[in-house]
């Protein structure tokens, strides 16, 4: 028998209490289970976070703490860069690079934007290519390929060195400093440097006499020889025109004559202009003389 009053539940009773039973049934309901197991904890977490961060001071403290942690990681010696090594650049160029980068070492490479460094260095005129990487031992390594100057471009403001593609390399103080390079002039000449170089190459047999090229109207070249001879080249196929001149020159010694100008602009009708002296001489020799 068991007592009818008081706590009737014996100790070893395996039966759940009414409320335990109801809770158990409730927990078996899928919606309720998801609510209790997932929705409520997430909501509580969100609420707690929201309450915590609603205070500006705490927000700031969290940001500061986060920055501190980030800094300690960034400033570990494994991530530090101490020196910059530049390879493949001349002294002046590497000085320029150091000046333009203005990195104050030591710096963590996590702080350094290598892409930006590369773009900055590649933006320098004398630099054709640059590779940036960090080397063991805290070294920022820059492998630079410099541009090779191919022509001197004379403008109103001075002389400039251009490479074979027409990209600027640097300024030139005096022509004599780079006497070995051909000279070009005229506005827009830099854009047609490859063509100019081809013309110069074609004019190799008269190299001694060539003074330079002048870009006319930003569309065609004039070839200037010594004693002010000028060869007007066409816009299209100027190299062939030069080759024709060379052939004429070699056949009939054209350029050695007293000419002021050879006009090759119309390929079908090349024309010459004599110098004044030659005209006078010609009129003297020829009986028919037209008074000016």
């Amino acid at each position: 028998m068991f007592p009818l009053t008081g706590n009737q539940k014996p100790k070893s009773d395996p039966a759940p209490s009414v409320w335990a039973y109801r809770l158990n049934r409730l927990m078996l309901t899928p919606l309720f289970r998801v609510t209790v197991r997932l929705v409520l904890p997430v909501a509580a977490l969100c609420l707690a976070t929201w309450i915590y961060f609603s205070d500006a001071g705490r927000r700031e403290a969290v940001v500061i703490a986060k920055n501190e942690i980030v800094d300690t990681i960034k400033n570990r010696p494994e991530f530090m860069l101490n020196v910059m090594a530049i390879e493949g650049a001349s002294r002046s160029v590497s000085e320029d690079i150091r000046e333009i980068l203005a990195i104050d070492f030591p710096i963590s490479w996590l702080d350094l934007d290598l892409d930006q460094v590369r773009d900055t260095v590649a933006g320098l005129d004398p630099v054709a290519q640059v590779k940036v990487h960090h080397r063991k031992g805290g070294i920022l390594q820059l492998d630079v390929v410099e541009r090779v100057p191919a022509v001197v471009w004379r403008t109103k403001h001075g002389m400039e060195l251009l490479d074979a593609t027409g990209a600027p390399v640097g300024l030139l103080k005096t022509r004599a400093a780079r006497g070995d390079l051909p000279l070009i002039a005229g506005p827009g000449a830099a854009a047609a440097v490859p063509q100019g170089l081809a013309i110069i190459a074609a004019a190799a047999p008269i190299k001694e006499r060539l003074r330079g090229l002048v870009r006319v109207g930003e569309r065609r070249w004039d070839m200037i020889l010594d004693n002010d001879q000028r060869i007007l080249l066409p816009q299209d196929a100027p190299v062939q025109a030069v080759e024709r001149i060379i052939v004429l020159h070699q056949a009939s010694d054209l350029l050695a004559r007293d000419l002021a100008l050879v006009d090759m602009r119309l390929g079908a009708r090349p024309s010459l202009r004599l110098s004044e002296n030659a005209q006078r001489e010609l009129s003297r020799i020829k009986p028919i003389y037209v008074e000016k």
Binding site: Q8, D13, P14, A15, V18, Y21, N24, R25, L28
Partner: protein, 444 residues
Amino acid sequence: MMDLYQSQRAMRQMRKAALQKGVIAILDVGSTKIACLVLRFDGIDWEGNSDGVGSLAGQSGFRVLGAATTQSRGVSFGEIDAMRETERAIRTVLQSAQKMANTPVYHVIVSMAGGNPRSYGLAGSVDIGGGQVSEEDVARVLSSCDVPDFGEAREVLHAQPVNFALDNRSGLSDPRGQVGQKLSTDMHMITVDAGAVQNLVHCVKRCDLELAGVVSSAYVSGLSSLVEDEQELGAACVDMGGGATSLSIFLKKHMIYADTVRMGGDHVTNDISLGLQIPATKAERIKTFYGGAHATSMDDRERIEIGGDTGDYDRDSRSVSRTELIGIIKPRIEEILEDVRSRLDAAGFEHLPSQQIVLTGGGSQIPGLDALASRILGQQVRLGRPLRVHGLPQATTGPGFSAAVGLCLMAANPQDEWWDFDMPSERHPVRSMARTVKWFRDNW
């Protein structure tokens, strides 16, 4: 009677709702154990299979998700005598079954063995005037059965039409659509003590469950442990439970008689406890380990330590031979079986075409029972186990679970009962007529 009709209809609705929901629990409240199975209905062919049962004897539609048993408390003779205790036991078993099924259940079908079931054969007939038999005619003939006076404080548990006859043709299972003059029916009705049912209902309600049916355990254990031809040709199922031995007689796939002998395995245990002067738990253990119904000379030599906890050497070192134990068990078993025999005789069991008797229930596991039973009940006795159903754990496939398994089958394919048919209009109470008159007066 109207109340009962309404409440049974309500339970049927509940069962339909549960089937739509797909999960239903069945609860077998016995005197020694309470078993609970949680079924899931996949809705494949649980109903609407008009031509007989579906594939796999109608079991393909459901699957057992959870099963649990617990020691029964507060139940004796299949009736509740300590509500709180029983309620706790039901809670325990439901909770563990739900846990195994991983789903909550809201509807439950309960079986009960006690309550002094009494079975009545009713007959009724109605004139249908040469037309086709409609569903309404079936309802009319069912309600035309003259209900005997089964006394106050009794409730109808089952009222199943077992036979229909149209004019001179009898043995119709479904008379609908057939043409005839006079439709008559035989109905089998079981009544039980109202108090026993109400206590059970109350216990279930206290566990936050909706009742989807109360059935007699004699009926459902017959459903699960009789095979098809036995159900067809006539057989009796004897479910030897702990507190009560229920028997049901089946003919033409219908239960035609049910009764209970209010003796069972608990009485055997009690006899052992008394005879050997040992506690009931120990007696139960000795019964299940060494029990038997037929002593052989070998059993004289087998000594069973029965011991004790008194500290007195002579008492604590007692032992009995197995023959003595069988000598205690056997008379009680014989008494039960003889009682069953007399109930069967009273029911006219010998007139059935086949007189197969199937012993099932936890008590039928006593070794040598079949020999003893065939001496008392006749030659056609076999031990029965319940059908196998989908997903039933191995531990719950024994004969002790034939009522539980039968409940599953009944939940899947319920037998038509009287309240499944709409109440014919002439049996509606007068009140509705008054309502009609009132409606006319209000609206004209």
